[in-house]
Amino acid sequence: MSVAPEIAGRDESEASASDTKALPKVQIHGLNFFYGTNQVLRSVTMDVPALKVTALIGPSGCGKTTLLRCMNRMHDLYLGNRYEGSIVVQPDGTDILDASVDPIQVRMRFGMVFQKPNPFPKSIYENVAYGLRLQGMNRRKELDEKVEKALREAALWEEVKSRLHQMAHNLSGGQQQRLCIARAIATDPDVVLFDEPTSALDPIATSKIEELIVELKKRVTVMIVTHNLQQAGRISDMTAFMYLGELIEFGDTNRMFTNPAKPQTEDYISGRFG
């Protein structure tokens, strides 16, 4: 973890430089979510700023992953789930929870990276091309360019350029997770959702992913669920603290970690519970 202080230091300078209020990319308003009759999210309202890293933190079962999975309507895959409220994506102002909105269209705008690397049983190239093909891109040259661009942005190109057509499963865990990031950003989504992306990785692979996420916010909005407070501190600009399905506090990461407004936030951050 010798790289960690360096990341933290750099992030601090960036965060203080970005104190000016950013434009909202996603406006969550009065969001309730139910698994069957069990209410998991209670009236969550927050504006996720564009081109920033927003971290969702809180103890297990607080609803942070549930909130993240509302953003790309993943809950629609399972029966008995219900949303109330709105999630409006700017600049076009689409409410992605609206009944007329196709969840597939939503998912094409929101990339997602999961807790464990989940490359498809295909070649490295085909993994990255998967989303592109779904969006109708078939010309070889165009695909080649997009795949290379995504792999470069995921800091994986140099390691895999000579074996693009080998199975993705031959990569190491950290490389697989970077491949999944390349897969998620290849289609130029508006927002990339990370669900504890480093929980299955070793410290070196973790710091590579963290650097990558900080780099990514130059062109996409990032939301990340993490149970690792140091990680939230190192890479996020904004932090949302959730507890028992409610959003307790949401604000600038530096301010939240040094001077939390709510006692629950302070208790959690100082390690008194969670």
């Binding site: 993943m74 895959l77 597939i104 269209q105 998912r107 989940n118 049983p121 499963h169 998620a184």
Partner: protein, 302 residues
């Protein structure tokens, strides 16, 4: 006192455990011994045959007439029957079985699946003699309405019914393999905006391929070794042909036919069925080894 009792009960546990280990070990060895027994019988009984008939004649002769006064030993005539009926069966069972497996694993409601799967598995519990007469008395007349020149005994009819019989093997194993593909993999594809069919075909199917390959290999072995259906419905005349519209005997049908007759023990005709059996055994062994290799290759990939 308490400690001595627990010590004695521990001794009992250990005694029971070593007995169980021996029982399980014996069970494991039993299957190996039976296999060896079969191999030894096959080799011992077909040995005199290969003393009298040079091995190459199996492949240079063009007819299989070991019971004639001027016998010919072209096993190709029997293998053709086996391979054609197996081929027809696989053309039915692999597409049908795979589609059913995909449907049951990815699309069917859980209640429906729990109801259909046992029904389907019942198909493989039907006695093969029933299948054989079903092919001969029901399917063949139906096929003759479409193609009037179809003979009473045909490899097409027997092969199709054999295909129906092995559909449950493919479906059951295939569905298990597809359901064991992790949900995380499916979610990865959904998150990119794929639909249900796309996820099933592009992610779940390749992810389950090692299990599906095992299912296909089992189906092949089952079809190659199937006896009653082909003996009843495909005909008993060895014929070197690849046309499924003709009748022909398979290796297994020949073995049944000869063993039901009154050939003297030790005659060359009697020994020929062991030679045919040995060839069949080598074939299934080959398929199984190929299946294993295929499985290992894809297993590493997933």
């Amino acid at each position: 006192m308490g400690s001595s009792r627990s010590a004695s009960s521990r001794r009992l546990d250990q005694g029971l455990e070593s007995v169980m280990v021996w029982v399980l070990r014996a069970g494991g060895w039993a299957s190996v011994l039976v296999t060896f027994g079969i191999v030894i019988t096959l080799v011992k009984e077909s040995w005199p045959f290969f003393q009298a008939v040079p091995f190459v004649r199996l492949f240079t002769d063009t007819m299989w007439t070991p019971l004639f006064s001027e016998p010919q030993y072209g096993i190709g005539a029997l293998l053709a029957g086996t391979l054609v009926t197996t081929g027809v069966a696989l053309l039915v069972a692999i597409p049908l079985g795979t589609i059913l497996a995909i449907y049951l694993s990815e699309f069917a409601e859980p209640q429906f699946r729990d109801w259909v799967k046992p029904m389907l598995e019942l198909l493989s519990a039907v006695p093969t003699v029933v299948y054989g007469y079903f092919a001969l008395l029901t399917l063949t007349p139906l096929l003759q309405k479409i193609y009037p020149d179809l003979p009473q005994f045909s490899m097409l009819s027997a092969g199709m019914i054999m295909g129906i019989m092995i559909v449950p093997y493919v479906t059951s194993l295939g569905e298990d393999a597809m359901r064991s593909v992790p949900m995380l993999l499916r979610e990865g594809a959904y998150a990119l905006g794929d639909g249900k069919l796309g996820v099933a075909l592009r992610v779940v199917f390749p992810g389950a391929f090692s299990g599906l390959a095992a299912a296909y290999v089992l189906a092949i072995s089952r079809a190659v070794g199937e006896t009653m259906i082909v003996a009843i419905a495909a005909g008993l005349q060895p014929r070197m042909t690849v046309n499924p519209l003709e009748s022909a005997a398979t290796v297994t049908a020949f073995i049944v036919q000869v063993s039901l007759g009154d050939l003297p023990h030790g005659s060359i005709g009697y020994q020929s069925i062991f030679a045919a059996g040995a060839v069949l055994f080598l074939m299934t062994l080959g398929f199984n080894l190929a299946g294993h290799a295929l499985r290992r290759r894809f297993h590493r990939a997933t």
